[in-house]
């Protein structure tokens, strides 16, 4: 019988261990998974909820949960109930390193408390041990149903030793009492508080403010209102901004150069710490403050303004930009808005660093953000962007070309010549697109050679641009291509576009070539020939001169067939009537 009871007890104990172990494994997995996602992603939320379900179920069944925290494991009564072997997301380690040695979830725990607990652990794991302390975060939460023991490395005895025992002389209390009994009983403080004798308290009759203290234990409505206003006003302060302003005020007031240097160093130091902890709104505020400060310093003589200028330039130097780059590359869910504002605040001198950054960033949204910053900053500094054309990395060149195109300043065109010669097709393509934005009609001639570019999409784009602009200087080049044997080897779309471009750029001058195509008899690949002829008819219709219409009418009057139908369709659309629908052509 006794054995049976023991077996049942052991079994129940086993169930508790297993249930707890199961919960802790889910918890650990939940934390690890949540670390991958941004805080507002639904997946961490789901994990939090499923962990809560496990925890709640266990508490309902077995009562409160309590276990010991070790460096890489959780233990209950000497038995390991959870172990983390990896360094990443090691839950016991995170609690242990901050001194937590025991953890307890009481029966009264609510889902809100659980979620806050979960979030705090995530916060610490995300921030790293240098920037958050779990015990401090838990304290701020003021959990009612989560309890923990923390060890402290502190010796009471050491401090007690610091109190030196005074040489206490033997106190004769009777003498004190006798002596003090003869002292005037009404003292100055009493007089001050009851208001009876201001003079005794050393105050004049004019000191009305003493009324506040007269009824020392009670606070009237106006006094309460004053204190509340004081606290409300304080609550509205963004205290970090205040501290930034203070440091800048101190800096502006430093008379001694040594102190000024020290303040500047402090400012740099503060800046780096904010950058380390990714506090971009504060950094933006600091940079704005520094700019104002610099303007003030420029009004004064001496080396202060120059020193400050260097400090201001450092906010966008390679070292700091490199740190932001690493940050942006470390995860795809950074504070883009904060970083964008930071980049916008940078001076033009930081543009080379930003261009360098473009080459280092490994995700598109980040690159897009830097490109936007450079577009804004580069308007007055085309040459800095233009110099990036010489960069050995094709993608940097492409982005520089893109930026120049977006800026839209004609000065950028000179850099395009080089970009158009780039070995990489993607750069040349971007350059053609940029030329379209930058160039005046007369400048389009730089694109003529690219009618023969090896890339079809570039050729297509150039042809299209010439067409759209009816750019006649390109006519000869286009005609040469159409006449060449290479033309026949092209795809139909390209042929069509070339013929269209020929019409737009050449006008009546294009008619002989087009007419020749329409009339040419072909014994081979009749279908291809037919389509080419149709394209030529269409091209002729774009010229819209009498000679051109005459050719269309001729085509329409030929014997029935697709070409005649097309020509007739064109004429109908234009409201023209063919002279003799049934007349045979040449």
């Amino acid at each position: 019988m006794q054995t049976d009871t023991k077996v049942i007890e052991e079994q129940a104990e086993r169930e508790i261990y297993e249930g707890l172990s199961d919960f802790l494994n889910v918890f650990s997995k939940g934390i690890k998974t949540s670390l991958i996602y941004p805080p507002d992603n639904p997946i961490p939320r789901e994990f939090k909820k499923s962990c809560w379900n496990k925890l709640h179920q266990h508490i309902q069944e077995f009562g409160l949960i309590e276990f010991e925290v070790h460096a890489s494991s959780f233990m209950l009564n000497g038995e390991t109930i959870h172990e983390s072997r990896t360094r990443e997301g090691n839950l016991p380690h995170v609690l242990h390193r901050d001194g937590i040695r025991r953890l307890m979830f009481k029966e009264t725990i609510t889902q809100i408390e659980w979620e806050q607990f979960f979030d705090d652990i995530l916060t610490v794991m995300r921030a790293g041990e240098d920037y958050e302390d779990l015990v401090n975060l838990f304290w701020q939460r003021d959990f009612g149903s989560i309890d923990y023991d923390v060890v402290e490395d502190f010796s009471l005895a050491e401090i007690e030793d610091g109190f030196s025992a005074p040489e206490q002389q033997e106190v004769e209390y009777s003498e004190i009492i006798l002596s003090e009994s003869q002292v005037e009983t009404k003292n100055a403080l009493d007089a001050l508080l009851d208001g009876s004798e201001k003079e005794l308290a050393g105050l004049s009759e004019d000191d009305d403010f003493l009324g506040i203290f007269r009824n020392i234990q009670e606070f009237g409505p106006s006094e309460k209102a004053y204190l509340e206003d004081l606290m409300a006003a304080d609550g509205e302060l963004i205290i970090e901004f205040e501290s930034i302003e203070l440091l800048l005020d101190i800096l502006l007031s430093e008379d001694e150069l040594g102190n000024f240097d020290e303040s500047l160093l402090t400012l740099d130091n503060m800046f780096d710490k904010m950058l380390d902890s990714e506090q971009f709104p504060l950094l933006v505020y600091l940079i704005q403050g520094m700019k104002k400060c610099y303007a003030e310093l420029q009004k004064k003589s001496g080396p202060r303004a120059d020193k400050f200028k260097d400090s201001l330039a450092r906010v966008g130097d390679r070292i700091r930009i490199s740190r932001i780059t690493n940050l942006l590359n470390s995860s795809e869910w950074q504070d883009f808005d904060g970083i964008r504002l930071y980049l916008e605040e940078l001076e033009w001198k930081s543009m080379p660093s930003l261009i360098w950054m473009l080459g280092e960033l490994n995700n598109f949204p980040a690159r897009k953000m830097v490109i936007e910053a450079l577009i804004n900053k580069g308007r007055d500094r085309i040459e800095i962007i233009g110099n990036a054309i010489h960069d050995s990395r094709w993608y940097v060149v492409r982005n520089a070309v893109l930026i120049l195109g977006e800026i839209g300043d004609n000065k950028g065109l000179s850099y395009m010549r080089k970009a158009l010669e780039h070995f990489d097709e993607r750069v040349r393509w971007e350059a053609v697109v940029a030329v379209e934005k930058l160039a005046s009609k007369s400048d389009l001639k730089i694109l003529i050679p690219y009618l023969k570019d090896e890339s079809e999409r570039i050729r297509h784009k150039v042809i299209e641009m010439f067409s759209q602009n009816r750019y006649d200087p390109a006519f000869e080049a286009i005609q040469e291509i159409v006449k060449s044997s290479q033309f026949n080897g092209m795809g139909f779309e390209e042929q069509k576009n070339l013929l269209k471009a020929l019409a737009f750029t050449g006008g009546d001058n294009a008619l002989p070539v087009l007419k020749k195509i329409v009339k040419k008899r072909s014994f081979f690949s009749a279908r291809a020939s037919q389509k080419k002829k149709e394209a030529a008819v269409l091209a002729i219709s774009l010229i819209e001169t009498e000679d051109a219409w005459k050719l269309i009418e001729e085509a329409a009057n030929k014997k029935k067939g697709p070409l005649a139908n097309l020509a007739q369709l064109i004429l109908d659309k234009k409201g023209r009537v063919a002279a003799d629908r049934n007349t045979e052509g040449d």
Partner: protein, 493 residues
């Protein structure tokens, strides 16, 4: 009322349920506060007084709302927490005074709390509250009090027996709280030493930052638990590193003041932190100057005047940039500025003095002059200190905040030596927040100067028969004058 077990037992709550809990919590807090108001009013007014009746009527209304589905409602103190029936009330800081008052009343009566039936009538409340606050009420513990109430025909109000009625147990608890306060205080001292001492060596800055925050959290918890034990420790002198001890003292005073103002926990932590490092700039002042036994000359003062600016800069370098550091920078810079804009250091742009700086500058001044280290080389008598501060309220301190501070430290601050009208010599051990003129004292010697081994007595003790207080303060005695070191008594206790 809904059973609290059901509310808090870990069930996933809907928004409606969460709102219900919040409403119940708010109702519970209102009820506790109204009970406090009734008891306070009862201690001032006759039971027939209209204002008293009005407050009782308000309490009865709340009681009826709260006992909607229940036959009884109890308010109890369990291990320092107030419970409404079985639900722990989360006391917000603005309800702190009321909660502390109720806890101290229950403790005085030797009960855990009071229970009110849904049938409780106005007359019963009048009688009960008037009796509870009687200082001459000899009856103690729930059983005796319930008998006593039955005799007065109060049938619907009962006292709940205390789980800790054993006096020895009470002493143990006191002792444990005192030890806990001491540990927290000394821990803060240790942290300040590590942080300020280690700053020059640039050691473990972030670790120290976290330790400092933890130390402040400890101070806040202890002050909320028992303000007196922490204030008592500020009186200890003769610590070999004055600046560090002073820093902790100022932090204790500032946090106590912040609690009275009703600052949130997060802001209290910032205030305590800022106060702890208000003298951070002194890490640059040569130790010989800080410990100079003679009065400072002009050159010494000029060096001393640099510490606020250096403090602000050093803090920016020492700690990660967050609201704690930002607060500490402002306080370090402004703690020698005056409310009227004078003081030091001077910079080109006038800045309005921050709330925390106003608080810390007062606490700093109070501790410095009472310890007699910087402003004068001899501690100033406590009544003189308070008077000086009041006189300077127009120029140097915010008078309203000063009034709050005086209510914390009392007219006779902890550590004051008092001559009583009984001819006894007494040491103030705790301020009485309900009557700052009548603190709790330990009798050091009787009329004949014989050293007594008496427990702590309350100067609010009232002799009903002769209609006068048992003991009254005649005046403060300057311990310096007789070579008495108060620290000895504090450490002894």
């Amino acid at each position: 009322m809904t059973q609290p077990e059901a509310i808090n037992s870990g069930v996933q709550l809907s928004d409606a349920e969460k709102r219900e809990i919040a409403n119940l919590q708010a109702l519970g807090r209102d009820l506790a506060t109204q009970l406090y108001v009734c008891l306070k009013t009862a201690s001032f007014y006759d039971p027939r007084n209209d204002n008293f009746k009005k407050q009782i009527s308000k309490f009865l209304d709340l009681l009826h709302v709260a006992t909607d589905h229940e036959s009884h409602l109890s308010i109890t103190d369990v291990d320092g927490y107030l419970f409404l029936n079985d639900q722990r009330l989360k006391i917000k800081l603005d309800g702190y005074l009321a909660a502390k008052y109720l806890q101290s009343q229950f403790e005085n009566l030797g009960v855990a709390g009071m229970e009110f039936s849904v049938k409780t009538e106005l007359e019963e409340l009048e009688k009960a509250f008037s009796q509870v606050v009687r200082s001459d009420l000899k009856v103690r513990n729930a059983e005796n009090l319930n008998d006593y109430f039955r005799g007065l025909e109060i049938k619907n109000i009962k006292f709940i027996p205390s789980l800790t009625i054993d006096d020895c147990r009470d002493d143990d608890d006191d002792e444990s709280e005192r030890t806990s306060a001491k540990k927290t205080f000394f821990q803060a001292l240790s942290v300040v030493q590590q942080v300020m001492g280690g700053f020059a060596q640039q050691k473990k800055r972030n670790t120290n930052f976290f330790k400092a925050k933890r130390a402040i959290h400890g101070i806040i918890d202890e002050i909320i638990k028992n303000e007196s034990y922490m204030l008592e420790l500020t009186v200890l002198r003769n610590y070999d590193q004055y600046t560090y001890k002073h820093s902790v003292n100022v932090s204790v005073f500032a946090v106590a003041l912040g609690i009275r103002l009703g600052l949130s926990k997060a802001r209290l932590a910032e205030l305590g932190f800022a106060a702890l490092f208000h003298d951070f700039g002194k890490t640059r002042i040569p130790i010989d100057l800080l410990n100079k036994p003679e009065s400072f000359n002009a050159l010494d003062w000029s060096k001393m005047h640099e510490h606020p600016i250096y403090g602000a800069k050093a803090l920016a370098q020492a700690f990660p940039m967050d609201s704690h550091t930002a607060r500490a920078m402002l306080v370090a810079f402004e703690h020698h500025k005056n409310i009227d804009g004078t003081g030091y250091p001077y910079i080109n742009r006038a800045r309005p003095m921050n709330l925390f700086s106003r608080i810390v500058s007062m606490c700093d001044y109070f501790d410095a002059v009472t310890s007699g280290r910087v402003y004068s080389k001899k501690p100033m008598p406590l009544d003189q200190v308070i008077m000086q501060m009041i006189k300077q309220a127009k120029v140097k301190f915010d008078p309203y905040l000063l009034k709050v501070l005086i209510n914390i430290i009392g007219i006779y601050p902890v550590g004051s030596l008092l001559l009583l009208d009984t001819g006894e010599l007494a040491l103030v051990v705790a301020n009485n927040m309900n009557d700052i003129f009548r603190p709790d004292v330990r009798i050091l010697a009787d009329t004949r100067g014989k050293k007594e081994q008496t427990p702590v007595v309350q100067l609010t003790e009232y002799d009903r028969e002769n209609e006068k207080y048992v003991r009254n303060v005649v005046h403060l005695v300057d311990p310096e004058k007789y070579g008495i070191d108060i620290s000895e008594y504090i450490l002894e206790s």
